[in-house]
């Protein structure tokens, strides 16, 4: 890089040498020099960049006036022609961490300015922003300041030049939670047998897939009065109008469909089919009501056992669909059902 990259540095009141907790309410100021850690960073970045300004802001001010604080600091970044934002490291300081994380995220998202910060793994700023930005991992106290700054200064040019970013272990950042598919030297069988032998010998081993913590949903209370309830049909069994008008995938669904049941007594095999790739489709295609039981619900509607069948049913494919997509579908379908004043849902899986 020929001309030095213009770096703006963000610090809280303490590291920005404005004062202690008594200055936590200070509004953001821009100092046209490298202050404290910014000066150390400036020295480390000598070959490629220069800290042209340090923004100092009180932790309380930032967290209690987020929109205003962000607006003012982003304005400072624009004014100074910042090409890189460096914030912190915040170590285990929660309010400072939140400020570094959110400022870096907004600068990258709104202004397209590459941003890097540093934090301890348990800092609340990590969970807030690790998906969006690179956070260099630090210890829980400021004792390791110099080595963290050196890691940040080593990492930043890769972001700037858009070079390939290595693994979290190689680069020292906190994993962003992205599972990348890569080639392995040994095949899966060999890795599994080695892992088992390590376990049996009591040696250290590392799983390739840490288990997720699932949120458990409490079942809804029973419907008080079925005879007056509107019941909706929702299914992950892939029953769609023939021809699959929304082109829902047969596996790994990225969308769901909403289809009218108005005037229908049953889901006829000539008009509906399954596109689900995860089960034997023959019997569902012979009678789609086996998966979306409209026929039975209509009978119950006529006999007065339920109030009425909701006008639309919702369908997607469950097989191979990521939990993240499923959660999103659930939220969107749930919101629509609520808006449509549905009382209960028959949720049919396959």
């Amino acid at each position: 890089m020929d001309t030095p990259v213009r770096i703006i540095y963000y610090l809280n009141q303490f590291f920005g040498q404005a004062g202690g907790e008594d200055k936590a309410g200070m509004e953001p100021i821009l100092r046209e020099e490298a202050v404290g850690p910014a000066a150390v960073f400036d020295g480390m970045a000598r070959d490629w960049g220069s800290v042209v300004g340090t923004v100092v802001c009180g932790d309380n001010y930032f967290n209690e006036n987020k929109p205003e604080a962000l607006k003012r600091i982003l304005e400072m970044l624009k004014q100074t022609g910042a090409e890189l934002l460096v914030a912190g490291p915040a170590f285990n300081a929660g309010r400072y961490g939140m400020a570094c994380a959110e400022l870096c995220r907004e600068a990258a998202a709104l202004l397209g300015i590459p941003a890097v910060t540093g934090m301890y793994r348990e800092n609340p700023g990590v969970d807030a922003c690790k998906k969006d930005i690179y956070i260099i991992e630090t210890g829980d106290s400021a004792a390791g300041m110099k080595s963290v700054l050196s890691k940040m200064a080593g990492f930043a040019p890769k972001l700037l030049r858009q070079l390939p970013i290595g693994t979290p272990e190689e680069e020292g950042y906190i994993p962003k939670g992205i599972r990348k598919t890569v080639f392995s030297e040994k095949n899966g069988s060999a890795r599994a047998v080695e892992m088992l032998l390590a376990r049996l010998r009591g040696e250290a081993f590392e799983t390739e897939m840490p288990m997720a913590d699932f949120d458990r949903v409490d079942p809804a209370p029973p419907v008080q009065n079925l005879a007056s309830a509107t019941i909706a049909l929702v299914s992950s069994g892939g029953i769609v109008p023939k021809g699959n008008p929304d082109r829902i995938e047969s596996a790994s669904a990225t969308k769901f469909g909403r289809y009218s049941l108005a005037g229908l007594d049953t889901l006829d095999a000539s008009s509906y089919e399954t596109i689900h790739g995860g089960y034997d489709p023959v019997y569902a295609n012979l009678d789609p009501n086996r998966v979306v039981p409209l026929d039975v619900l209509r009978e119950m509607e006529r006999s007065g056992r339920i109030g009425k069948v909701h006008e639309y049913y919702y369908a997607t494919t469950g097989t191979g669909t990521s939990v993240a997509n499923a959660v999103q579908f659930g939220k969107e379908i749930g919101a629509m059902l609520q808006q449509e004043k549905v009382d209960a849902v028959l949720l049919v899986s396959t």
Partner: protein, 429 residues
């Protein structure tokens, strides 16, 4: 029980007037004779035969099964006992294999579980079957077959073709001879008392059309988990029903060359004591899942296993089977290592499995089935590339006008093999 696998290294594959296997590893096939053989099944209207070689810009789609051509030269049985040949016990005597060659079945789509083999480029990197000399068998069934009959016709045609080709190796001298000898559990424990006792629990998809597996000809849906001698599986006891998504179906080829069994065999008597294989069906009902898990774990306990490798076939509901088996093993003090792929979404940010249990502390990942890849246009397409729109891993816009295919790994045969046959994994970034 002692079984020998004689490998004949196949270097070239071609059509010609007479079928033969030359000493230099060249296989010549009489096209008309093989077609005539396969057409004996009156449910077949037409058979097409093509050859696809590594490095060629050839795309094969939609692929149903892949099979290694073999022949039994000594001992009981032959082919796939109970399926293509009369019932016999597999796993003793000697079998010859045309190593480096494969029979690949394609044809009209039966369901949505078929996949792609690219013989070159980016796609080739993701499937082991881009490295074999492939005899591609295109089966067109007669009209009016039910989907279940259609699947059976294609399955049997592939197995028959592989037996027909395999017969060429009957009188050959193998280039390499592997010996698989393993007596009884009691004998192993007596011989290697200090080595940890390890069992392999292989889960088989058993869920209906294109989700079935056949064990000695029995539909695995109808069996309780059963203990097998490892040789039986390597010698044709298990046949794929063209099951589940292409990326993680266990093709018949992979049953014959099960890499977990091979790995455990390699270390048997040196680092561990291999106690055998428990085949367990993955059923659709909760009752079925509990029954299979209970019984598989009970067998492991009865034979004194201290550790277990558990491999899944498929994903989604079968994640529950995998983790249920794992939990029950660990509750009994048997240490488990699982092999599975993951559904982490196209961006890789979702949690990987559809279920969870804290006991699953040792898991090998064989890749994210939703990882997106782009396959450049082929010079030659065997089959029909429009099929991608309906395959697992494909979507409506998968096939571009110039022949490029964008799809998930889901659609690439063997890419995320959950018996760990291949070299794909995930890394957390």
């Amino acid at each position: 029980m002692k079984w020998e696998l004689g490998k004949i290294w196949i270097k070239e594959l071609q059509f010609g007037p007479d079928s033969k296997l030359d000493k230099d590893g060249t296989v010549t096939l009489d096209k008309a004779a093989l077609i005539e053989k396969l057409m004996e099944d009156r449910r077949i209207a037409a058979v097409g035969l093509e050859i696809a070689k590594p490095g060629e810009r050839t795309r094969i789609i939609p692929v149903k099964d892949v099979i290694e051509p073999r022949v039994k030269v000594k001992g009981e049985g032959g082919g796939f006992p109970g399926v293509t040949h009369k019932i016999a016990k597999a796993g003793s005597g000697r079998t010859h294999a045309l190593s480096g060659m494969a029979v690949v079945t394609i044809g009209d789509i039966v369901g949505i579980q078929e996949g792609i083999i690219d013989m070159w480029g980016e796609g080739a990197r993701y499937t082991p079957f881009s490295r074999t000399l492939n005899l591609v068998v295109d089966i067109k069934p007669v009209q009016g077959l039910t989907p279940h009959e259609h699947e059976e016709v294609v399955r049997l045609a592939g197995l028959k073709a592989s037996a027909w080709v395999g017969a060429l190796a009957k009188d050959c001298e193998p280039d390499e001879l592997e010996v698989f000898e393993w007596g009884s559990i009691a004998e192993c424990v007596r011989k290697y008392p200090e080595l940890p006792k390890v069992v392999y629990i292989e889960m088989l998809i058993s869920q209906g059309l294109l989700h079935d597996t056949y064990v000695y000809g029995i539909d695995a849906k109808q069996m309780l988990p059963t203990l097998f001698h490892p040789n039986e599986i390597l010698d044709g006891a298990v046949v794929s029903g063209n099951c589940v998504a292409a990326c993680d179906k266990i093709t018949t080829y992979q049953h014959l060359n099960n890499s977990v069994i091979r790995e455990l065999y390699n270390k048997h008597g040196k680092e561990l004591n291999f106690l055998g294989v428990i085949l367990t069906p993955e059923l659709v009902t909760l009752e079925g899942k509990i029954r299979s898990a209970n019984h598989a774990v009970n067998l492991a306990l009865l034979i004194g296993a201290e550790g277990a490798i558990v491999t899944e076939e498929g994903y989604g509901n079968t994640d529950t089977d995998l983790l249920m088996i794992c939990r029950k093993l660990e509750e009994q003090g048997i240490k488990a290592v699982l092999i599975t792929d993951e559904c982490a979404g196209r961006d890789g940010s979702s949690q990987p499995l559809a279920d969870t249990t804290p006991e699953a502390k040792a898991v090998v990942s064989t890749g994210n089935v939703s990882h997106l890849i782009s396959l450049e246009p082929a010079d030659r397409v065997l089959g029909n590339d429009k099929a991608i729109a309906n395959l697992s891993g494909g979507y409506d816009e998968s096939l571009l006008a110039d022949g490029t295919i964008r799809c998930e790994l889901n659609a690439i045969i063997g890419s995320t093999s959950e018996i760990g046959y291949f070299n794909v994994t995930t890394k957390l970034y």
